[in-house]
């Protein structure tokens, strides 16, 4: 009896060692990127990474967090390159010496979505008018509330519309979650929300086109959503792979990658528009 027990224990221990020992060590140099959830959740990075790995001979590893946290990870030297979408914040970040070589490489646009019935009557209005309608109805509005690029844009839009940024108002729901989760929450309580178009198309494809929320406002100049890549500044972080980051930034703004971005489609719709060198 005792023998059997020892044997089982040994087998378990061997399994444990086996699992612990098979840690994969990559051969190619690793480039670490912090990025926003929208580029990851839409599948863009999964689609681009093999091409980047092949032509640069690197292994791209990314963590998908909000723009706010991505910038923070760069500040702490935990990643080598950033892919973010909050231009004002980024410029300040570069000015403060945390980032370098900021390069705009693609954009899409934000859209305001809401219940198909449009209880606030915001459809087709200009952005400030629509925000005021939602404010005064009051219809519900779901906010990311997480310092992400989309959240930063939303705060900008309230200010642009001359509205004090809502705090504890009962119609203003701060979800503190990612974009798709926020859209789902908005859909559950018939609220309006701001989303980037890429994520909305992804959401549509999950619902096979029959979504409870639809696009009500689009095409306004203030709704542009610019994505940029930024190298983490090597003078701030000595161990950072600035050489690889530079190559990656060059690669993503070169014609090959730009064409790949233009070709990336969900449900036959283009999600991002390349604009490096603009």
């Amino acid at each position: 009896m005792r023998k059997g027990k020892v044997l089982v224990a040994l087998v378990l221990f061997a399994c444990l060692l086996l699992f612990a020992g098979t840690t994969v060590f990559a051969d190619a140099p690793v480039l670490r990127m912090a990025t926003t959830t929208s580029t990851d959740n839409t599948g863009l990075l999964d689609y681009l990474a093999p091409y980047a790995n092949k032509s640069l001979g690197i292994e791209l590893q990314w963590v998908a967090v909000g723009t706010g946290k991505a910038l923070e990870l760069g500040k702490n030297c935990d990643v080598d390159v950033l892919m973010v979408h909050a231009p004002e914040t980024e410029l300040q970040y570069v000015k403060d010496g945390y980032g370098k070589d900021r390069t705009q490489f693609m954009y899409n646009d934000f859209v305001i979505i809401g219940p198909a019935g449009d209880p606030a009557g915001a459809r087709g209005k200009s952005v400030p008018e629509a925000m005021k309608k939602i404010r005064s109805k009051p219809a519900l509005f779901a906010s990311r509330g997480d310092n992400s690029g989309t959240h930063v844009k939303e705060l900008e839009l309230w200010k642009l519309s001359g509205i004090v940024v809502p705090q504890k108002e009962s119609w203003y729901i701060e979800t503190g979650q990612g974009m798709i989760n926020t859209i789902n929450i908005a859909a559950e309580c018939d609220a309006y929300t701001l989303t980037d178009r890429g994520t909305f198309i992804k959401y549509e494809s999950n619902w096979e086109g029959k979504t409870p929320l639809i696009i009500l406002i689009e095409g306004d100049k203030s709704l542009r959503n610019q994505y940029s890549v930024i190298a983490v500044n090597p003078t701030n972080c000595s161990k950072v792979r600035y050489d690889l980051a530079t190559e990656y930034i060059k690669w993503i703004s070169a014609p090959e990658a730009q064409r790949l971005i233009a070709d990336f489609k969900l449900m036959g719709k283009q999600l991002f528009i390349p604009n490096a060198g603009e």
Binding site: V8, D78, I180, I183
Partner: protein, 229 residues
């Protein structure tokens, strides 16, 4: 409802077809939790034994402290460990952030209190007469300690199972320290969080079922071990 039935079907489909992404997450989960459980048992059993067996001043305070740590939120453990192993932190040079050993260290912090507390309780629950008998039989301290642990082995095993359950099901630490990097630090739970974030609910449920199957296999193995003993 569609998500749930869809999730069940997908779970078996993922496992049956040997989906590489799912298996990568499964193995990462196993690696991380095995490492952290091994470490927490090595630290936790002796510590728990000491706490349960010996009388010393301030014992009750230490016990209360350990029991309080049982309520440590995973995200707080993640934040604390992040502060230490970030390149800007005191152990930044080790390059542990976004690696499997990094997650294992943080999980060890998370689950060691479970092992300590439950082991101590098990040892305290032993019959005092056993110790007296052992002493009269002339056993030395080491022998007494071994005999006590052997007597409490099933309770200690239960501590290990509880700790394992906590380790494989937590998401806060794995997300903060691991970063959910595909093929590297993506565990089953962070994959579930990602799929939910993508709105792929049935995929999330499928992975949840995979996790439960894994827990079932581990527990079943332990039951077999108990039977043999």
């Amino acid at each position: 409802m569609g998500y749930i039935t869809g999730g069940f079907l997908k779970a078996f489909q993922l496992l049956g077809t040997g989906d590489p992404e799912t298996y990568s997450a499964v193995f990462t989960t196993l690696k991380v939790s095995s490492l952290s459980i091994a470490a927490s048992l090595i630290i936790g059993i002796p510590a728990g034994f000491f706490l349960g067996y010996r009388e010393f001043r301030g014992k009750r305070q230490v016990r209360t402290f350990v029991d309080t740590l049982l309520a440590l939120p995973t995200v707080v453990v993640g934040l604390l460990v992040y502060a230490f192993i970030s390149r800007r932190g005191p152990f930044g040079n080790l390059g542990m952030l976004f690696t499997i050993p990094g997650i294992a260290v943080a999980q060890t912090v998370l689950v060691t209190p479970i092992v300590v507390s439950l082991t101590a309780t098990a040892i305290e629950g032993l019959d005092e007469r056993m110790r007296v008998t052992l002493v009269t039989l002339g056993a030395d301290r080491f022998r007494i300690a071994l005999a006590s642990l052997k007597e409490a082995q099933f309770a200690v095993l239960a501590a290990a199972v509880t700790a394992y359950g906590r380790a494989i099901s937590e998401v806060g630490v794995s997300m903060m320290i691991g970063g959910n990097i595909k093929w590297h630090t993506r565990t089953i739970t962070t994959a579930i969080a990602l799929e939910t974030g993508k709105g792929e609910f049935s995929m999330g449920i499928a992975l949840g079922i995979v996790l439960l199957l894994l827990a079932f296999i581990v527990n079943w193995g332990l039951i077999m071990l108990k039977k043999r003993a």
